[in-house]
Symmetry: C2
Subunit: 487 residues, 2 copies
Amino acid sequence: MASDKSTPPLTVDSLNPKVLKCEYAVRGEIVSLAQKLQQDLQANPGSHPFEEILYCNIGNPQSLGQQPITFFREVLALCDHPTILDKSETQGLFSADSIERAWQILDQIPGRATGAYSHSQGIKGLRDTIAAGIEARDGFPADPNDIFLTDGASPAVHMMMQLLIRSESDGIFCPIPQYPLYSASIALHGGTLVPYYLDEATGWGLEVSELKKQLETARQKGITVRALVVINPGNPTGQVLAEENQRAIVEFCKKEGLVLLADEVYQENIYVPEKQFHSFKKVARSMGYGDKDIPLVSFQSVSKGYYGECGKRGGYMEVTGFSPEVREQIYKVASVNLCSNISGQILASLVMCPPKVGDESYESYFAEKDGILQSLARRAKTLEDALNSLEGVTCNKAEGAMYLFPQIKLPKKAIQEAEKAKKAPDAYYASRLLNATGIVVVPGSGFGQVPGTWHFRCTILPQEEKIPAIVTRLTDFHKKFMDEFRD
Amino acid sequence: MASDKSTPPLTVDSLNPKVLKCEYAVRGEIVSLAQKLQQDLQANPGSHPFEEILYCNIGNPQSLGQQPITFFREVLALCDHPTILDKSETQGLFSADSIERAWQILDQIPGRATGAYSHSQGIKGLRDTIAAGIEARDGFPADPNDIFLTDGASPAVHMMMQLLIRSESDGIFCPIPQYPLYSASIALHGGTLVPYYLDEATGWGLEVSELKKQLETARQKGITVRALVVINPGNPTGQVLAEENQRAIVEFCKKEGLVLLADEVYQENIYVPEKQFHSFKKVARSMGYGDKDIPLVSFQSVSKGYYGECGKRGGYMEVTGFSPEVREQIYKVASVNLCSNISGQILASLVMCPPKVGDESYESYFAEKDGILQSLARRAKTLEDALNSLEGVTCNKAEGAMYLFPQIKLPKKAIQEAEKAKKAPDAYYASRLLNATGIVVVPGSGFGQVPGTWHFRCTILPQEEKIPAIVTRLTDFHKKFMDEFRD
């Protein structure tokens, strides 16, 4: 018998090295510091020069006071406890169309069993509704059998990475800057992130010439590039791609045999009249590419948009252009986790099929939705202007999504000070900002940036009445910081 | 520029081979056949010799008619739509203690934001409640910081496999028969399943001598065994471990430096008076092993027990005995997916802290719970007796969990017929059973079995009024099957 010395106790060094390599800045060191400061403030009010922590690190609207859309929550509550649907009091508490919708949804669930595991792709009737919503959005057919409902978009992204990555010789094309779910997922699955740089000077433009150059470089290194991730509207960059640009990207993927992974979770978050959201599937179909011509996955989530239902963990991916054999493998991986949560599934169907003109809830629904989106647009503009007014800071417009990603030209002395503190210069700036103002932003290094440039990501999500104070605090902090370090 | 021939289109052969290797029988071929038959029945009623498909393949109680616990659903509905909490009609629709509990839970959620991402381990107040529930169950302290809330138990199992498995030289000890989540997860993460056989002759006994023998064998093959999975109550085997036996297992893990992964999702499902559930943590603590002495993970889920809320995807793991550095890595992996769904988190807190004597809901809650558990015990006994009365079939008692796992001694001619049909003999039996009766069971080969023996897993979950008909259909089918093939 081997002795008990033969297996050493579990240490970090004996964990899966892919896990060690993975990083996720959005919930990284800066957030731990923020949580510590928040505990300080609770224990000793007045212990810091601010009264509350403002979490601008993450696209989590309701944590900052955004209210849920009433209709969606009415339907969810009724589906959670359907025995009240028949009661007279219910009509006083819920809108008529939410009651009707809840009945419709219950009828779509086999045996009305809202507590049962569903089909591993999600409840068929809800997928029908989602497919109809996609069709209405795009003007091209959508097939409910192409929909895989998931607990938010993140597990869907992991699933695709798991399928595509065989070894570190497999590469996944990602924008830089990127949302760190991608770098984290690629690291966890042992692949290689192949970067393509968005051009900050042209409003985070995505140039096919850059894609070609980087693909060539990767191939010379022996990397098989398997897929291209596009985030549109951009995260953390906020740009909305022009349709012409999207066509070029589709053509590039088609030519190079790449799977197009389209992160379209911000499809409802567009703030400028000159831009519109076009799904990559719509663009591909309008170019004449049918279901068999190009493998394309579109990710959607209930966490973003005007609904911002992050805690519900609902989302889906629409999977087109794969062979039946590959589809079967995707289904198998989905089935190992049985199914995504039913409330999230229901909510995904609701956001793709909200109240319509004439429905009892329509007016209040539209007012809530429009109020949120208009306010987000104003907040984006105010914060963008404020950032651009700071010494050494330039900030592209947030055309969409929920973020600004300003560049800060840091003085040499600040960079030296960061080195002394053993921090990246942008991380140093972010931690100074947090300690001085309570505002939590994520250093650009967590997303990737052109070497030698420094950025941070700041959400546009604090409630509107707080924005002036944030602008003041940020402006004061920045001025003092520059006064301290100016070359 | 490389030509478009350089990257071949995506085929099964170019997918991650770990995905191809993964199998998940519970939703495998037999279920696809069942779904096909169900479609037939809908399109052409009377096209098969049965009127409905009876899904006995999966522990999915509500899909077979089990009703949710009223109190749990009341609280969930109120938390989904808290604006009704203040309305007078609400008191007519909901119990006083569900309203009170909903307020308590809302107060535990920062900003009462039920639609926000939570802390990546789950809402702290809910973890407090769960820790208190564990303490009340075990009589030993539990720390809310040790709780990681997850979307059901499956993602928690994947997380631990991801941390522990570095390569195929890393082994995870699993019982045979096992719940195929484990074999699937080990395959997806590229590790090696190291089997230990449960002894069918002694009621699926788990012998430490067998563990020692298999550990030795694995080490001789160069496998580093990292963890031991124990499923108690057993799945698919239904046995409940004796405390004495659990102590020996703890001692073995301690001696051999193994992480103990305790699947305790059936902790509420015990049907025999002579057996009780003891968590492995309680057993380890009662042996004097403290938090630092043994790395131990306990998995719990809202999908099982008397609640059976599979579709809510709630669950948690309690992680003890790991170093702070390792814990940080677990946290990081959890944070990449942001958080589990909040309804599932709330439900996990409710099942660990249900109504108490004196609460308005207590009587109805207890009646619902007791009704379900008593009925499950009766169903288990009736099905067990029926199976044992069949020619060539022996079935151990379902002391707990939701399954029976009978052994069938198949006649040689049936085995030859299965070979002709290119099926494993147990898969052949299961598909014949399905085609003749509409009853869906999972072939034993999906769980693992001693080579040359054949089994199937059948849940005890069809509603009680259907059990007599199931027994009749199964008995008739089996008799005809044996008449056809008897040696």
